[in-house]
């Protein structure tokens, strides 16, 4: 296997939080030892509920924040430190798509000026080239030329997100982090933007990290999927396999809760207990208070992410046991 374009190793990000004016400050581990790699031309979906650290992971992978521990390598080289001039130069190769396109656009500048901005920042070619490139970008995201003269508030949600996409693609980046890019759009527009992303990825050989809580969208766009729970990756694997046969109890619950049209409903796993609070993480496996099949060991030891099958890693004591048993059985047979 060739080296992944982006490899993330043991990322940790801790925030200090203070309860009240005189409360003691407390460390919140938003991201707690995340490791994965993304191959060139591949989309890795990152799913999990609010507060699971998906967005923080995305920001760390892009180097928008410095991790407290761990490292991110891009093209085999570690990322330069945030806000240095090398870091700024590296932005031409990696870009981000935001959840709220209206917020991500400057409301005082017409769209064309904003799409052109990365070219101006990174001093790409000359005036003529930039103007031509803007027209090309607008076409590639299926926006008509006259939209370039308009202001962000005059556009629809889908048009705005496509404008943001055009801006992100201006410098021909290799890597795109999409942080919930369609969750603020309605369903028909979602499909439009997702299909555009898929087409562009194929055309430009883009590598993407697609962050979402919407399993249908993730399944549609991703080749591989990582499931996060309270700052840790609990399951990582091929998108189709993972959704068909989830191994981790949390993934099972997630998949069973996601509606699928036409399919006969299997029984739905309803998680009990409190939704996760990253500031008060339970000991052992973070999922054990809500896990239907937790046992004694889950309360004391956190399971590591281990490869249980080719291209499938799970962090659960149960699957570890099962797979150990399976390999033991295999050895006997």
């Amino acid at each position: 296997m060739t080296e992944p374009l982006v490899s993330v190793d043991g990322l940790v990000r801790t925030y200090r939080m203070r309860a009240g004016m005189f409360g003691r400050s407390r460390d919140v581990r938003a991201v707690d030892g995340v490791t994965f790699g993304i191959n060139r031309g591949e989309t890795l979906g990152l799913v999990g509920e609010s507060g699971s650290g998906k967005s923080t992971t995305g920001r760390l992978v892009l180097g928008l924040e410095n991790p407290d521990a761990g490292s991110v390598a891009f093209h085999g080289r570690p990322l330069p430190a945030t806000d240095t001039s090398e870091w700024r130069a590296s932005r031409a190769r990696m870009q981000m798509i935001f959840q709220d396109p209206l917020g991500a656009l400057d409301r005082r500048l017409p769209i064309a000026a904003q799409v052109r901005e990365p070219l101006d920042i990174h001093n790409v070619e000359d005036e003529e080239f930039r103007t031509a490139r803007v027209a090309e970008l607008m076409r590639s995201v299926r926006l008509s030329d006259d939209i370039g003269q308009r202001y962000p508030h005059e556009l629809s949600g889908g048009q705005r997100q496509r404008a943001v996409l055009a801006r992100a693609l201006a410098t021909k980046p290799d890597f795109l982090v999409c942080d919930e890019p369609v969750s603020a759009l309605d369903v028909s527009i979602q499909a439009q933007v997702v299909n555009l992303l898929i087409d562009l990825q194929a055309a430009l050989n883009l590598t993407m990290l697609f962050i979402s809580h919407d399993l249908r969208v993730v399944r549609q766009i991703s080749q591989r999927v990582a499931v996060m729970y309270l700052g840790r990756v609990v399951e990582l694997g091929n998108a189709d396999d993972l959704f068909v046969s989830p191994q981790h109890p949390y993934t099972k619950a997630l998949v069973s809760a996601s509606p699928a049209p036409g399919a006969r409903r299997t029984e739905r796993i309803v998680l009990s207990g409190d939704p996760p609070n990253p500031a008060a993480k339970p000991g052992g496996c973070a999922f054990h208070p809500r896990c239907p099949s937790a046992f004694a060991r889950c309360r004391t030891a956190a399971p590591a992410l281990v490869e249980v099958a080719p291209d499938r890693s799970v962090a659960c004591h149960l699957t570890g046991v099962e797979s150990h048993a399976a390999t033991a059985l295999g050895a006997v047979a």
Partner: protein, 287 residues
């Protein structure tokens, strides 16, 4: 897709349409332009020399052929003195407003960008400035260094900077919290580009409003200092200076004081009107 087929004519029309200027704003603009022209061409249009005395026509009422706006107690032509006063007062007011806006905004941006110690230092200076009556500060400086026009402009330039600093800091911090500033940052833009090209235009409306508030205050402050004898020194004259000295004759020759007072009122009103209109114009979402 529907938006592909839109005709290009909408774009063309948009660029041609000229912004409509309300009549009141047009009058205000004309007034300020007229004041600027008067200030620039003072020597050419003033009928007399600024210190020229006509002792036979002392305290003559406005409306006579030799002195349209009358004369003061030394027989100096009020119109001439008014013209030169406008020059000095506008110089001080525009100069000081510009200086304080630039200093304040710059310090506010520095505070917002570096946070931590730099921010604390700027806020402490702002609090210090706000808690100290500016007139006392100005009196102390002028008493030590004597009064000269550059010093006066520089000193006035420190008036009101803390408001810009606070506004710029607060708005810049909230802008970096919002999407657009962080989006531009992650495009690889240097902080100077983020602040000057994106955050500054976005907060300009608020800054312009506070400039139109500071402008009249600077004129009034200068008037106050001149009245106390520490501002513009005779034989140089300013609007405040004229009001100050004309006050003694308010009963017998009110025109000495009323004409510069009217100019102060009209100019500050015009600046406020223009600022208000400009704020709306600068915001494309209100267009």
């Amino acid at each position: 897709m529907a938006d592909v087929s839109l005709p290009e004519s909408t774009a063309a029309r948009r660029t041609i349409s000229w912004p409509k200027i309300p009549p009141l704003v047009a009058i205000a603009v004309l007034w300020v332009v007229a004041m600027l022209v008067v200030a620039i061409l003072a020597e050419a249009i003033a009928p007399y020399g600024v210190t020229k005395m006509d002792l036979r026509n002392r305290l003559s009422a406005p409306g006579n052929a030799a002195h349209w706006l009358g004369t003061d107690e030394l027989g100096r032509d009020v119109l001439t003195r008014l013209i030169f006063s406008i020059r000095i007062s506008l110089l001080i007011a525009f100069g000081a407003t510009a200086i304080s806006a630039i200093i304040g905004t710059l310090l506010g941006f520095l505070a917002a960008h570096f946070r931590g110690l730099a921010e604390q230092a700027v806020l402490m200076l702002a609090d210090f400035q706000a808690s100290m009556p500016f007139l006392i500060l100005a009196l102390a400086v002028l008493a030590f260094f004597g009064s000269s026009l550059p010093l006066l402009i520089g000193l006035m330039g420190f008036y009101g900077w803390e408001r810009y600093a606070r506004i710029a800091r607060g708005l810049a911090i909230s802008a970096t919290g919002q999407g657009y500033a962080s989006a531009i940052r992650q495009l690889g833009a240097a902080p100077s580009r983020v602040y000057l090209r994106h955050i500054l235009p976005n907060i300009a409306s608020t800054l312009i409003i506070s400039m139109t508030l500071v402008f009249p205050e600077v004129i009034l402050l200068e008037s106050g200092l001149s009245f106390l004898g520490l501002g513009v020194q005779p034989p140089m004259t300013s609007l405040g200076n004229m009001v100050g000295y004309g006050r003694e004759y308010i009963g017998s020759a009110p025109w000495i004081m009323l004409t510069p007072a009217a100019i102060i009122t009209l100019t500050t009103l015009a600046v406020s009107l223009i600022g208000d209109w400009l704020r709306d114009k600068l915001d494309p979402t209100l267009a």
